[in-house]
């Protein structure tokens, strides 16, 4: 029990952020017309690529002098993360283009 209390206290800011982010996500998504469900999901998917930051931090501090499994995995993590981010935003943009096109007519 004490472990938990210590953990909570040490990470209280983060736990606050998590709790409030949950409400933020719910608020932003509620009442979205179903027309936009797909682009919204796709855009959210791109944002979940923030893991790329973790990949950059990890690979940034990996020792490059010796070949290691971590180096290979780190490179893959960055490539995968970028695929998620770049691919996600580009494809969302493409979807939204289709909605925009008709506005000009």
């Amino acid at each position: 029990m004490e472990d938990f209390l210590v953990y909570f206290y040490q990470n209280k800011e983060v736990i606050f952020i998590i709790a409030l982010s949950i409400f933020l996500g719910v608020e932003v998504i509620s009442n979205v017309p179903s027309v936009l469900h797909t682009p919204l999901m796709s855009g959210a998917n791109a944002i979940s690529g923030v893991i790329i930051i973790g990949g950059i931090i990890l690979l940034g501090h990996t020792n490059l002098n010796a070949f290691s499994l971590n180096l290979v995995l780190g490179i893959f993590a960055v490539i995968f993360g970028t695929l998620n981010v770049v691919g996600g935003f580009v494809v969302t943009d493409r979807m939204l283009d289709m909605f925009k096109k008709k506005k000009k007519k």
Partner: protein
């Protein structure tokens, strides 16, 4: 009283980095908020992308490791090369893929995000400086499930992987979950030497990957929008777990934000089908023949010329699109039909069921591609009151979302699911490839209705033939 940066043991760069994360997090939220309106959606996507780019650049230049070193030039070059490589591939795939393959693509990109999270967690777990073992393991498990699950979803949507459903899959999945939980608790509760610890983390990764595969495997096509949305949510949560490891607020906020948004979207989809999430995950639709004994009545076909006359002299026509429209790529032909009918003074609307197709809003994207104005797409609840006044309802490749069994047959697996009340309209034309059942594997009595006429064949060919026929009238 004044504190200097030096006393805190930080540099101006550290502060700038944190500020940039704050700005990024705000841009994510504003971006997604803007994306909830058709007019501002494109701008929103751009803002979120700018936020992401900012966080990536500042991390690259300003992040300091435990030893206080910023990322060295050579490491930076490796990172940038990997980013350029991934970026080019991502852009090419995202630009080249056909719009009809969109659900697969979203799944694929989601899988890469999950994989990245799992890899980061895997490496961080054996990092002695990492003090949040529990969060790391959670990130590893969730990321791995999101990865393998999304890959299976991708394979299914692409038609490469079939459905496997047997009673044992449910038990197997429960067993896997118990096993994963037990191993996680074991790893956290006892101290192990480095080698054992690393070995166990790989075992856990393997188990989570298998669970991801087996969890999506039995889920049928009609439930795919729910699953994709759920997996999307999981990837966000996995990224947030990794953010926890680095005490990185941008990652935590971004990840949890996406996680909760995805969860809400998942629940919206479930609500649209009147099923609980648990029911979707465990009780996959299986070819229930319960209602098959009933007197079915007869199927009546309609000729192209009859169909064209019927449509041309109607006042109100409603088109109900489904996955079949996407498969046949009939969206352009459909738009031609709509224009032609409108020239003749017929009012045409599309009735969009929330779970039509294979991902949330699938039909909207598909029809938007063919330049159908989104004002013509009417949601289920708004169009249903109008159905009795509709002269002709054309059902194009949709099945379960117009099945009246959902309203009046308590023994039907889809009983209680809100449907588009096609059966209330004065005439119904159903375009179908054959008499196959929908993804729920159940008989549709709409097809046997007295007012229903069938037009068999590929949806695109049928609609094109119909367009030609109407032109000749």
């Amino acid at each position: 009283m004044e504190t200097t940066l030096q006393e805190l043991g930080i540099t101006a760069g550290d502060v700038i980095l944190e500020i940039s994360y704050l700005v990024s997090a705000i841009l994510f939220v504003i971006g997604l908020k803007l994306m909830s309106h058709p007019e501002s959606a494109k701008k929103g996507n751009l803002w979120a992308a700018v936020g992401m780019g900012l966080a990536m650049v500042t991390t690259l230049f300003l992040h300091r490791g435990v030893s206080g070193q910023t990322i060295s030039l050579i490491n930076g070059i490796v990172i940038v090369s990997a980013i350029i490589f991934g970026g080019i591939i991502g852009t090419v795939i995202a630009r080249r893929i056909k719009m009809t393959a969109m659900p697969q693509l979203v799944s694929f990109f989601n899988a890469t995000g999950g994989a990245a999270s799992a890899l980061v967690a895997l490496m961080e777990y054996s990092n002695p400086d990492n003090s949040s073992a529990m969060v790391t393991l959670l990130g590893l498990i969730i990321g791995a499930i999101a990865f393998s699950g999304s890959m299976i979803a991708y394979g299914k949507l692409d038609g490469k992987v079939g459905d496997i459903f047997a009673k044992w899959t449910t038990y197997f999945n429960i067993f896997m979950l118990v096993l994963i939980t037990a191993l996680t608790v074991y790893m956290l509760a006892f101290d192990h030497d480095m080698a054992t610890q690393t070995m166990l983390s790989y075992v856990l990764l393997g188990l989570a990957l298998i669970y991801g595969i087996m969890f999506v495997m039995p889920i049928g096509g009609a439930d795919m929008p729910v699953v994709i949305s759920l997996l999307n949510s999981l990837t966000g949560i996995a990224a947030a777990m990794a953010g926890f490891i680095y005490s990185n607020q941008a990652m935590i906020l971004g990840g949890i934000f996406v996680g909760s948004a995805g969860a809400i979207l998942t629940l919206l989809m479930c609500k649209a089908m009147n099923r609980s999430l648990l029911n979707v995950i465990i009780g996959a639709f299986g070819g229930g023949g319960a209602a098959a004994d009933k007197d079915q009545g007869t199927i009546k076909e309609i000729s192209l010329s009859d169909a064209s006359v019927l449509l041309s002299y109607s006042q109100k026509v409603v088109i109900v699109p489904g996955y079949g429209l996407a498969v046949a790529q009939a969206q352009y032909a459909t738009n031609d039909l709509v224009k032609l009918l409108e020239d003749k003074g017929v009012e045409v609307k599309f009735a969009i069921h929330p779970v039509a197709g294979r991902m949330p809003g699938h039909m909207n994207v598909l029809l938007a591609e063919a330049d159908v104005p989104y004002t013509k797409l009417v949601e289920m609840d708004d169009i249903n009151p109008d159905m009795p006044n509709t002269d002709v309802t054309i059902v194009v490749g949709a099945n379960d979302v117009v099945n009246p069994a959902a309203l009046d047959d308590p023994s039907s697996p889809i009983y209680g699911m809100p449907i588009i009340n096609a059966h209330e309209s004065k005439n119904i034309i159903v375009m179908k490839r054959g008499m196959g059942k929908g993804y729920a594997g159940i008989e549709n009595f709409l097809f046997f209705n007295d007012k229903t006429r069938m037009l068999f064949g590929n949806a695109k060919d049928s609609i094109q033939a119909l367009v030609n026929e109407i032109k000749q009238l």
